[in-house]
């Protein structure tokens, strides 16, 4: 520390600020903006999050084309929605690690001592997940279009809304996991990885599940992610069918369950 660091002066003369009661909306917005700030200021994490899905897009699409015998454009039409869900999955399921870091350094404790409501501490954080997800999804779409990918625009917009709703729920669950395992990083990553890959494979993101054995199909039917993936495919294709409705419902249920579990974990946290 240099000598410049210190000017022992007194707290400046100013009327003492008074702490006032705040609304849940104010609190949530405050937490949301706080969470978003480092992402915007340092978009490296957003860019980094696209790299893996881009690999899948670039390296897996040719394999799909080769094995199915379909055109690249048709394959992308099926595969890109899955990649978008995948990137949302990768990004939001790991977000609890940020909270875990804040739990270790002490800043989480400080937010708990502040009058911010517990649910806004959770909801504000979870809502932030929407932003990087949408940015990343749009990048993937932008990369795929020159290769023949043709999304239905209205469908894409609604698809991203459904995905956002899902992300809020998944993000909240990731935070809940962090709060549950406390400072144990090993446990966080262990649980996250253990759940991530089965969920992804069972949702038919990489390979279609048609013709899968019955037990596998049954498992995929209880995986909410399956419905989200199917909905994204339908919506981006421009078909407003039952798949879209089921996916929206699955996303909404994930969102509500995530936020309830998350807010509870936040309340129990200390």
């Amino acid at each position: 520390m240099s000598a410049v660091d210190t000017h022992p002066t007194r707290t400046p003369d100013a009327p003492a600020p008074v702490s006032r009661a705040t609304s849940p909306l104010h609190d949530t917005a405050l937490v949301f903006v706080r969470e978003l700030r480092p992402v915007v200021r340092d978009p490296f994490s957003v860019i980094f999050g696209i790299i893996q899905p881009l690999f899948f897009l670039g390296l897996f699409t040719p394999l799909l084309v080769a094995s199915s015998g379909q055109s690249t454009a048709d394959t992308l039409q099926w595969f890109v929605p899955g990649v978008i869900v995948m990137l949302a999955l990768f990004g939001t399921s790991t977000t609890g690690a940020n909270l875990q870091f804040e739990m270790q350094t002490g800043s989480h404790e400080r937010t708990l001592v502040s009058p911010l409501s517990r649910s806004s501490l959770m909801i504000g954080r979870a809502l932030k997940e929407i932003v990087p997800t949408i940015v990343q999804a749009l990048v993937i779409v932008g990369v795929a279009v020159p290769f023949g990918f043709r999304p239905d625009l209205a469908g894409l917009v609604v698809g991203l809304v459904v995905l956002s709703v899902f992300c809020v729920g998944l993000g909240a669950l990731s935070y809940a996991l962090a709060l549950a395992v406390k400072e144990n990083q090993w446990a966080f990553w262990g649980v996250q990885q253990t759940l991530l890959f089965p969920l992804m494979l069972l949702a038919g993101i990489l390979l279609p599940l048609q013709g899968a054995p019955g037990w596998l199909e049954a498992l995929s039917k209880v995986n909410p992610l399956t419905y989200v993936v199917d909905a994204e495919r339908a919506l981006i294709e421009g078909s407003w069918n039952g798949d879209a409705v089921a996916g929206a419902a699955a996303a909404a249920i994930t969102c509500v369950v995530g936020l309830v579990v998350g807010a509870r974990a936040m309340r129990a946290s200390s």
Partner: protein
């Protein structure tokens, strides 16, 4: 005077595996508005746990506490609104910029964005952090980060401020600066301050009341002066040129001052007695009459360390090994 903090039988246990640690045992504490209290005790004494219960971070196992008139269990939000807390960790998230965390912290207490910004700029300035305002927290030095913690705790000028080892990691100049801030908050806004510390001089300089805790219990609760007078007298240290002189001197001191604790080792005599500085002249006169001349004389005022030693039989400074573990953890985090 109005009551600010009142605890009744406050107790907190932790269960790790089969072991139960009682971090705080049956604490009855009454702190009036405007008081400045230091919790003093070795590592693991239960200081942080006490503060964490009073700030709603931990639920008591048994017992109850009211803070600023609100129950810490049933009325947590009201307690939180009334207090400021500077914990043992870092208040600001490492990925955030210093100024952003400070402003958000102000806003979370209901300050408007403008109010929070003005106040943040003032605090940064007076804590010597203006240059670092736009730096990411993780790039700040340890002491700068600690000062940011302090700014965050003061942003809403709370009427009741809890500080958990606030001066850890600060250089002497910044420790003095911190003390000034605390005194200022107090004089200007009549704030009540409760702090924990290992630094005896800090407790001595800041607090009008010291609560000494050890193993989760209060072992003493008084003003620094009274604690010193009751639990550790002034120390008069004398050395002599011959062991014979020393033993005669020790005998005469014991005879003249039966209340004094006199210890004697070959050529040295140690006299521990209340008001010791006042009896030195008389003692030396007595030695002169008896034909004993000390080679050196030293009078030391008692320190809180002496108080702690007399209360618990252990020195606060022996906690060094624990302290180094804390430091390692900080580095790792």
């Amino acid at each position: 005077m109005d009551t600010m903090i009142e605890t009744r039988g406050l107790t907190r246990e932790f269960h790790t595996g089969k072991k139960t640690v009682t971090a705080v045992k049956d604490l009855d504490l009454h702190i009036a508005q405007g008081e400045m209290v230091a919790l003093l005790g070795p590592n693991g004494a239960g200081k942080s746990t006490t503060l964490r219960m009073l700030t709603t971070l931990l639920a008591p196992t048994t017992g109850s506490a009211t803070v600023a008139g609100h129950d810490v269990v049933t009325d947590q939000r009201a307690v939180r609104r009334a207090i400021g807390y500077i914990g043992q960790g870092n208040s600001a998230a490492h990925a955030q910029r210093a100024i952003d965390e400070l402003v958000v912290s102000g806003q979370s207490y209901g300050l408007s964005r403008t109010q929070a910004r003005t106040r943040a700029a003032e605090l940064m300035e007076s804590l010597g952090l203006s240059e670092q305002a736009k730096q990411k927290v993780m790039t700040l030095s340890g002491g700068q980060r600690r000062r940011l913690d302090i700014a965050m705790g003061l942003i809403h000028a709370p009427g009741l401020l809890f500080l958990d080892e606030p001066s850890t990691g600060l250089d002497p100049q910044n420790r003095a600066n911190l003390q000034e801030h605390i005194l200022d908050l107090r004089h200007r806004h009549g704030a009540t301050v409760v702090l924990t510390t290992h630094y005896l001089d800090e407790a001595d300089a800041l607090a009008e009341r010291i609560v000494v805790v050890d193993n989760g219990r209060v072992v003493a609760d008084d003003t620094p002066a009274a604690l010193k007078a009751d639990h550790a007298g002034d120390r008069i240290a004398l050395t002599f040129s011959s062991p014979g002189d020393a033993s005669r001197a020790a005998e005469r001191a014991s005879a003249a001052h039966p209340a004094a604790q006199v210890t004697h080792t070959s050529r040295a005599v140690d006299i521990q007695v209340a008001g010791g500085s006042g009896i030195v002249a008389g003692l030396l006169g007595d030695y002169a009459q008896a034909g004993i001349t000390p080679s050196t004389v030293e009078v030391a005022r008692p320190t809180l360390d002496d108080v702690f030693l007399s209360l618990t039989g252990r020195s606060l400074r022996e906690g060094r090994t624990d302290t180094s573990i804390d430091t390692l953890e900080e580095v790792a985090a």
